[in-house]
């Protein structure tokens, strides 16, 4: 038995409309339920956060419970799950029995993709919905519609965490890194400040950027973007993410050693002088660009000479008093750590 998409659509139509002459649930539901005794919900001994269920929802759940007790797997259970999900997308028990029906009755998977699209509005952040789509696509082995689906969701909210997370799964499942890197460029054109896109780029590139030459290439992309939009926290974070960040003594776990995280290849600013040169040019243009200033501070602290540290402290002064006032406490703490770690060098 395969469900035709017309069934699915008419079910949702019947149960999402506010109908004028209000036919009852049993009148609207396309399957016979006369053999089923509906089961009421246990209410507990105290009324806590109870809901004013409308009679139809109460009836839907009464039949849902009854069918779950029976352990039934059938077309009518499948259709009932549609309505339960429509009323509460987060109802993972409904999604579970739906999946069971699909498996055992070998129901049509393309219709399921349509069902997901039908209930998507308002449910773009429902974990169950995204997992169900993943399950269907895995079975179909066909990802051809997925970038469009993701794009549809991201058009509404280009930072939807579920959509980007689904994208990571898609890329890994079907080996689409190079293809996706190209597609990603559209997101940078549209909204270079979208940090989700920058993070996704890091996911795509992290296994590709291994040598200094690799990073020289990537730096062209990053610095070009910063040049266009110099006050973009996302691109500056992405830049510093490829380089070592100096760790103060207060965080060192053993004598002179910081806790290590394996696997992450980090580069040294000293090997990429174009970065410091670029940043100084940005600071010249806008002496109060807090991203440029704080990145320059990091570079100078990494260099750890008397001159570089002295300049770092001066720049921190600018940050504290003009460019980054909300973080005055942070910069005080930061310079106190510089003094603590490099005091003797500074006084030399």
């Amino acid at each position: 038995v395969s469900t035709q998409s017309t069934w699915g659509k008419s079910i949702l139509f019947l149960f999402s409309q506010k109908m004028e002459d209000k036919p009852s649930f049993l009148q609207k539901f396309p399957f016979d339920l006369s053999d089923v005794t509906p089961l009421k919900q246990y209410e507990g001994t105290s009324t806590i956060m109870s809901f004013a269920y409308d009679p139809e929802y109460e009836t839907i759940l009464d039949y849902f419970r009854a069918l779950l007790v029976k352990g039934e797997v059938s077309a009518r259970v499948f259709e009932l799950s549609s309505i339960v999900i429509l009323r509460l997308c987060g109802n993972y028990n409904a999604w579970y029995i739906r999946k069971k029906c699909i498996e055992e009755l070998k129901l049509d998977l393309i219709s399921e993709l349509e069902f997901i699209e039908d209930i998507l509005p308002g449910n773009e952040k429902s974990y169950q919905l995204w997992e169900h789509r993943r399950y269907i696509i895995e079975k179909l082995g066909d990802y051809s519609k997925e970038f469009d689906f993701i794009a549809k969701v991201l058009t509404e909210d280009n930072k939807n965490y579920h959509a980007w997370s689904y994208r990571v799964w898609l890329v890994e499942a079907f080996n689409l890194r190079d293809e996706d890197l190209k597609r990603l460029e559209l997101y940078f054109e549209e909204d270079p400040k979208n940090n989700s896109a920058w993070n996704h780029r890091h996911f795509l590139r992290q296994n590709q950027i291994k040598t200094a030459e690799d990073l020289h290439d990537e730096l062209k992309f990053i610095l070009e973007s910063i040049k266009l939009v110099p006050n973009n926290e996302a691109s500056w974070n992405y830049l510093t993410g490829w380089f070592v960040f100096p760790e103060f003594n207060v965080f060192k776990v053993k004598k002179g050693q910081t806790a290590q995280q394996e696997g992450r290849k980090l580069f040294n600013y000293a090997d990429f002088p174009q970065v410091e040169k670029f940043i100084r040019a940005v600071v010249n243009e806008n002496p109060k660009n807090r991203y440029a200033l704080s990145t320059l501070v990091i570079i100078l602290v990494s260099a750890a000479t008397k001159e570089s540290l002295t300049e770092a402290l001066e720049l921190i002064g600018t940050l504290q008093t003009e460019a980054d006032l909300i973080r005055t406490n942070y910069w005080k703490w930061f310079s106190a750590n510089i003094e603590a770690d490099f005091g003797s060098l500074l006084k030399a």
Binding site: W164, N237, W333
Partner: protein, 343 residues
């Protein structure tokens, strides 16, 4: 008064009376259909948020239901399943009574329920806050639940049979173990390694490896390391503290280039407190932002311009104020356990 709409200034402090009235309403009877979809599937979690809010306001005597009744109701949400999905003798707490057809005290359920780790943690935490000694909790059953949710990579899934697995459920598993004082359900070494695998290029944490750094995920990572007693082994602390403090715009946001949202006052503030540097936040600006998120009729909203408050943002705003010493109306909190400090 006619003329231009004037911006209503933020209240000077927490409007305790109004907020308690809002919280009492949310725990009450016959809540409207309009808000049901936001509460129903995670009802136990919502109860936790509301009870914790009463507790942090020092108003546990003002709960609309007697403590004993609330405790009994929570225990009625506890379930035991002899066998499902290959697991045996597992206990957990339900989100609601949707799959319950009779009083649990009368014997085995008609419908084997699959328990969600977050609702289980929330029930345990709420019982703990209400002063219950957890003696009616089926501890071995819950420890088994926790154990069978842990994945080979060290993460925890939310519900058996569902692929959703990330730092949130890892935190729920660890904090539940802490409440039960029984860690035998957790492979601590694997959990530790999974946490570290979620650290990103900016020093903060995404919900799962490679996912975008997020304030809530970062809280779960830092709090979980704290509960494991291994926060000193966290790498890249300097970078992480930089990320955390750059979340502050006036209020605090949860991701780079996003708008400040009241709940991150807690997620980000608590992470900073556990790292010993909560004073790096600009407390006056943050306090003002949080109070701008207070509803006209009490409770706290996500954004100053949001229309309605909700239980999550209400509690986390109060917790946020506690972290920065922003109000005499709120008690001190245990940020790793996400509840008020209990005497």
């Amino acid at each position: 008064m006619e003329g231009k709409e004037e911006k209503v200034p933020a209240a000077v402090d927490v409007s305790v009376k109004e907020t308690l009235a809002y919280l009492r309403f949310m725990l009450g009877d016959k809540l409207p259909e309009a808000i049901r979809p936001f509460l129903e599937s995670t009802k136990t979690m919502m109860i936790y948020f509301i009870v914790a809010a009463f507790e942090v306001l020092g108003a546990e005597d003002k709960l609309p239901i007697p403590k004993e009744n609330l405790i009994d109701a929570l225990y009625q949400l506890q379930g035991h399943v002899k066998r499902y999905l290959g697991e045996e003798n597992v206990s957990g707490f339900r989100a609601n009574y949707m799959l319950v057809t009779k009083d649990p005290a009368l014997g085995e359920d008609d419908i084997p329920e699959r328990f969600h780790l977050v609702n289980t943690f929330c029930a345990l935490s709420t019982l703990n806050m209400l002063g219950d000694d957890l003696s009616r909790v089926n501890k071995p059953g819950i420890v088994r639940l926790i154990a069978c949710h842990q994945q080979p990579d060290g993460s925890f899934c939310s519900v058996l049979g569902i692929k959703e697995k990330d730092l949130r459920f890892l935190y729920a598993a660890l904090s539940s173990s802490a409440l039960l004082k029984d860690w035998s359900g957790v492979d601590k070494e694997r959990a530790f390694n999974y946490i570290l695998s979620c650290q990103n290029y900016d020093g903060a944490f995404g919900l799962a490896p490679t996912l975008e750094s997020h304030g809530g995920a970062t809280y779960c990572a830092v709090a979980s390391l704290q509960l494991l007693g291994r926060l000193d082994e966290l790498p890249n602390k300097g970078r992480l503290i930089n990320w955390l403090t750059t979340r502050q715009v006036n209020g605090v946001n949860g991701r780079v280039n996003k708008v400040p949202d009241s709940c991150y006052s807690f997620w980000v503030g608590a992470a900073l407190r556990m790292l010993g540097v909560v004073d790096l936040l600009e407390a006056k600006e943050l306090r003002m932002f949080i109070l701008e998120c207070q509803g006209d009729k009490g409770g706290f909203k996500k954004y100053p311009f949001s229309r309605q408050p909700d239980p999550v943002h209400t509690l986390l705003s109060l917790f946020g104020l506690s972290l920065i010493g922003g109000s005499s109306a709120v008690r001190d909190i245990d940020e790793a356990m996400s509840q008020p400090k209990l005497n």
